[in-house]
Symmetry: C2
Subunit: 777 residues, 2 copies
Amino acid sequence: MRQVGSVLWPKLRVLQVYGANTGVGKTIFSSILCRAFLKRFPKVHYLKPISTGPQNEADDRHLSILSKNVRARCLYQFADPVSPHIAARSSKESTSNDDIRAAVYDELSSYANDDDSVAVVETAGGVLSPAPSGSSQADLYRPLRLPVFLVGDHQLGGIGTTISAWESLHIRGYDVQSVALFAESRYDNHSYLKDYFAERDIHAFSVPPPPERHSSNAEDARAMQQYYEEISASSSVQSYTSKFVEDHAKRVGDLQAMSTEAVEAIWHPFMQHSERSKDTITAIDSAYGDYFATHTTQQAAVTAQDPQASLIRPAFDASASWWTQGLGHGNPHLALTAAHAAGRYGHVMFASAVHEPALRLAQTLLANMGNPRLSKVFYTDNGSAGMEVAIKMGIRAAAARNGWSADEDIVILGLKGSYHGDTMGTMDCSEPSIYNKKEPWYTGRGQWLDFPQVKMRKGQWIVEAPGELEGVFGEARTFDSLDDIFDFEKRKVDSDMYRAYCDATLADLEKKGSKFGALVIEPILLGAGGMMFADPLFQRCLVDSVRGRSHNAQTSTDDLNWTGMPVICDEIFTGLYRLGRFSASKSFLGIDADIVANAKLLTGGVLPLCTTTASQAIFDAFVSDDKTDALLHGHSYTAHPVGCSVANESLKTMMKLDRGGAWDRFKQPWKAGESETVGAWSMWSEAFIKAVSQRSQVDSVFALGSVLAISLKDPDGKSYASTAAYQMRDKLLAGAPDDEWVIHSRVLGNVWYAMAAMTTTKETIESLEEKIYAALE
Amino acid sequence: MRQVGSVLWPKLRVLQVYGANTGVGKTIFSSILCRAFLKRFPKVHYLKPISTGPQNEADDRHLSILSKNVRARCLYQFADPVSPHIAARSSKESTSNDDIRAAVYDELSSYANDDDSVAVVETAGGVLSPAPSGSSQADLYRPLRLPVFLVGDHQLGGIGTTISAWESLHIRGYDVQSVALFAESRYDNHSYLKDYFAERDIHAFSVPPPPERHSSNAEDARAMQQYYEEISASSSVQSYTSKFVEDHAKRVGDLQAMSTEAVEAIWHPFMQHSERSKDTITAIDSAYGDYFATHTTQQAAVTAQDPQASLIRPAFDASASWWTQGLGHGNPHLALTAAHAAGRYGHVMFASAVHEPALRLAQTLLANMGNPRLSKVFYTDNGSAGMEVAIKMGIRAAAARNGWSADEDIVILGLKGSYHGDTMGTMDCSEPSIYNKKEPWYTGRGQWLDFPQVKMRKGQWIVEAPGELEGVFGEARTFDSLDDIFDFEKRKVDSDMYRAYCDATLADLEKKGSKFGALVIEPILLGAGGMMFADPLFQRCLVDSVRGRSHNAQTSTDDLNWTGMPVICDEIFTGLYRLGRFSASKSFLGIDADIVANAKLLTGGVLPLCTTTASQAIFDAFVSDDKTDALLHGHSYTAHPVGCSVANESLKTMMKLDRGGAWDRFKQPWKAGESETVGAWSMWSEAFIKAVSQRSQVDSVFALGSVLAISLKDPDGKSYASTAAYQMRDKLLAGAPDDEWVIHSRVLGNVWYAMAAMTTTKETIESLEEKIYAALE
């Protein structure tokens, strides 16, 4: 499948002409512009990708007759003079959005060479008029994100239609550079619109309307000829063309300078800045669907050699923008949803208040987690803050029940390699490591256990135990399928062994004085700590063991109350379909957590929001007559309506995909045996990960849901400092000079990983699999 | 000034008819709807607020002639048949948006009584056609936020104009309930649009177009009469009317149930939930400008008595939505900006990457802080996380220079009552208090000093010192003006005394073993800790004292480097014009901080974002060949483009207001003596705060920038647990039954405070001052 994205050629300046409505003069303006540009450049291209109506009336013919030095071209000509989505029904030609974009891209590429020139691309109908596929013009061309010249509506009502058309382009991420329309004295739309757009830093101008039509074709042609000559030479049009040329140069210059300027002004997250230079910073000009539109030093080198290469190249966003992306970049539904909430509320203070988006989101989470314990939703702004709240909830509840004073040294129980965030409370939930050892205020407040991991090695699913657990666990287990690993019934021997181990370990730790305020786990996948796939049975047994602790078991008969210690599931990364299911703790481990934190996919990859959902028993531990017993936590933008609205829309969309069988093509091959349903599945194919696991460079690999993780062999034993994964990452980003798209990825030590959005197609995954396999030795 | 907001009457159902363009049949559809509703309700009202053209052709006449049982009314009739913004120029009538909204509100109120009925409000032109004031129809009526019936465009190009019109309404926060248009077989727009809106859960339907016009008026009238009869009785229209009635009932029911449902599903921030019931939760239906549209138990009681009272009442948002609001709720520019960024990017991962909104925001902050030390911007999601980063930056830099190991007990120096956030690292920066004493993981890591405070008491500006400082400071100082307090030159005696005190105190603390990693202050106003106005001269002297510490003074000649200890200014609340100036530390204290954190107003009250800006020297302390020396901090949504874009737009707007003299009317009266410029000023008038300070209930009061804080006398000495301020808050929210709007506020202990947006008008402030004064005893 072709994948073309946003383009920017240094010497070929492209603009796209949109109309605020049909019949506003797009073709006349295109003609004026082509002629005006001819005064500056020897070659001017006019491209009408889609035209409907008899060919001799088609816009491109009209234009080339009138102006011989313009090279005009139409790509899709439909004889039927109706909207393209109707005309295309009777056509045999393939007119998917992908095909049309690729054809436009190829055509424009063919114009790009060492000569300075301009290409004017005229759309069909209005901004949101249907394309042949049925989606709108603006959505069809959005991936190319060409600078827009909007022809305004000079007719009665045209002020409103012009501004609305601009808004529709704007919310789709277009840069509308200029607005122009015919000066029509009756309605005076042009005066109003000039001021309106000037306030928004958009250049707007008007030209006199074309001469009235007469009966004689020859006379009309002469009159139009004269009109075009006059208008294209007019000062307003000429000042537009010089502005357009300047804007193009500025855009190229800004893009080329971005990485250097970033080095000046930005302190990047998670980076040793001695390694930073303009060459190590990727400039991201825009993004759409699965892809970034990137400019890199490597791409600059390619364009220096090849004038047909764009300064911008699509790069598959393989970290899903730090694990947040779920429904595609530049998603117009989510953009509109965000805007609606901003327009309805802005932010509204959430203390002692409620608004619909926050209430509905809380209700949706409670209704769909499948966990009867969960009862109350607390909002924060990101996963780290949400986990701080979870910890506060857990340890306060434990302290209250056990009668521990605030001075006592309460710790959490966790797994080695866990990671819950970068604020200091969550840092303290991880064992001492290179991440935190240089932070003066870091204090490890926990006990962390080794755990067995799921991997595919040399074509075989295994579970193996590291460190001190190895002595108990013995040799690695082998499994025929991923589903078998999740079949707890069949793994009675492991289950008994795990439970005995956990019981003994907990008893021992408690004997030594540990006061546990909470068990804190990332269900199934330990993310930032190194992308480790925990044996789900072990996590399940650990929870059972914790809840079976008798010394402080709840005496109440309420089976929704916690026993042993509150169980906190950090599903910030693993929840909400990232692993293919709504709730990782419920669906995979079969447990009802007491506290669950969600973020990242919650807002579908648009903006930050986090929810910490707690059981009634946890909530009740904070209720008293004393104000200071309350959870005195809150952020200014707590439950901001924009975030809650986007979350509601994201969840609705993902649940619809789930229920509508959108992932069935991925799920089907993962079915184990005769099974009708599939528990564990991935968007990455099992055949692919089997093949990967056989590469000599690879230690092991796994895939679950949208996540793929490849552990590379680490000859130096340096783990986090290992360079094998870096090399893979760099190779995939550089690509070959003629690759239409490349892969942008992040690594964790010696683990190279990728994840898809929940809307990524099977075809895209297959292309990725090819590239990834080829990059491995 | 009248202030009307969103309305919802239980028995009067209102819908507003918008057109996707002019000439799409708004009036015909209004007629159809009125007649259809007559089949359900005895009374139907038709309101055309604004009409242009000769009166006998006006829509309301047309409609009342055709359907006698409809009570039709037009409020503004312009004879000139042009767009209202042109027609209004020659009119003597006042046609501001406020006037028109108030007139519409009053007219609709007059329809509301105990009888069930419907009012159809027809707009003029298209959705964004100009109103008499020049702003758009949609912006004119937005505060009322009536449910919308959108008449789609059946003409060529109408698919695009209809969708764009819907998008323009949607991003302004309207609920578009239904879309209807004429079925026109040539273009088949109605088939496309029905599917399109069904996917978006919006009911869409079509009706046959009206009969063609003939020459005979009588025949036309008969044909139309017949058309109306048929269509209004048709199943599609009847099913629409029943849906409309259901939607209204659902909206009323949902609003009335919201507080109860919130109690079920939400864990509110900063609340002792034993005090929570549906009666203490304010349901916020929407917001616009300075006002929430609120439904409360009190309001429910009012509507139970008075059918003309709306279930929703405007409440001035006096906490500026927890101090975030700056440019008005529901600001369409910010909504569009957010949508543009979401449409251009979604989120894009920021590690080793850069995008334009983040780069421009960093550059704007660096260029406008006026602080030559600041060099690098780090992004987080909220103030608490941003302050965690600031602390990490400061103490790591101090530890590196002083050769302290990570195990040593490094503390911060701060002021008593400081508050920097609720994540555990920032909690540790506050002295032990009721806020944190029950958190098991809280560890106060600092030394906190008393400080003198600025207050107006009994009409006199004073500076007085509390606690142990009183012995040194002596009696309270008095000042003639606020500006005099900021005139450090004239306060040499205080300055010397402060400096000597700080020097001695620091020397003593260091002698006792304190290792200070940073000085952390909130410049001028200590916000969440109790809204205290620190004597700026004291803060300045403290900084000078810290920087003058010789034991570890920087030997380098680089005067941009820190000495003594890094100085961190938490300007999350106080920066970016909240106190009237861009930077509180630079403008008021005259210091160049080493690290500055900004949030809240940064994003103008839309969504969370925080910046932590550091000097090059601080940044350099993290640069080495060792990856683990880096600041290993980052959040998934770090530098999310939506937040950065909204911040860029907010800052641009506020800087424009500043430079354009938008606040001159507020500033003028604050000028001291002959002074041409004004340093310290407030949107609240000095005369008002003088008057307030004389009320018997009031201990003291101050105002600065948009902030007003009133300390109420606390007879029980309970401070945070004091109820005096609660009573004031509750009284202002309840209002009188016939108050057009009330005040929604928050309190901090015995302090009742209010703050305005940067766009709040002087007239609104004056109305507020009246209400606040009246509420005080």
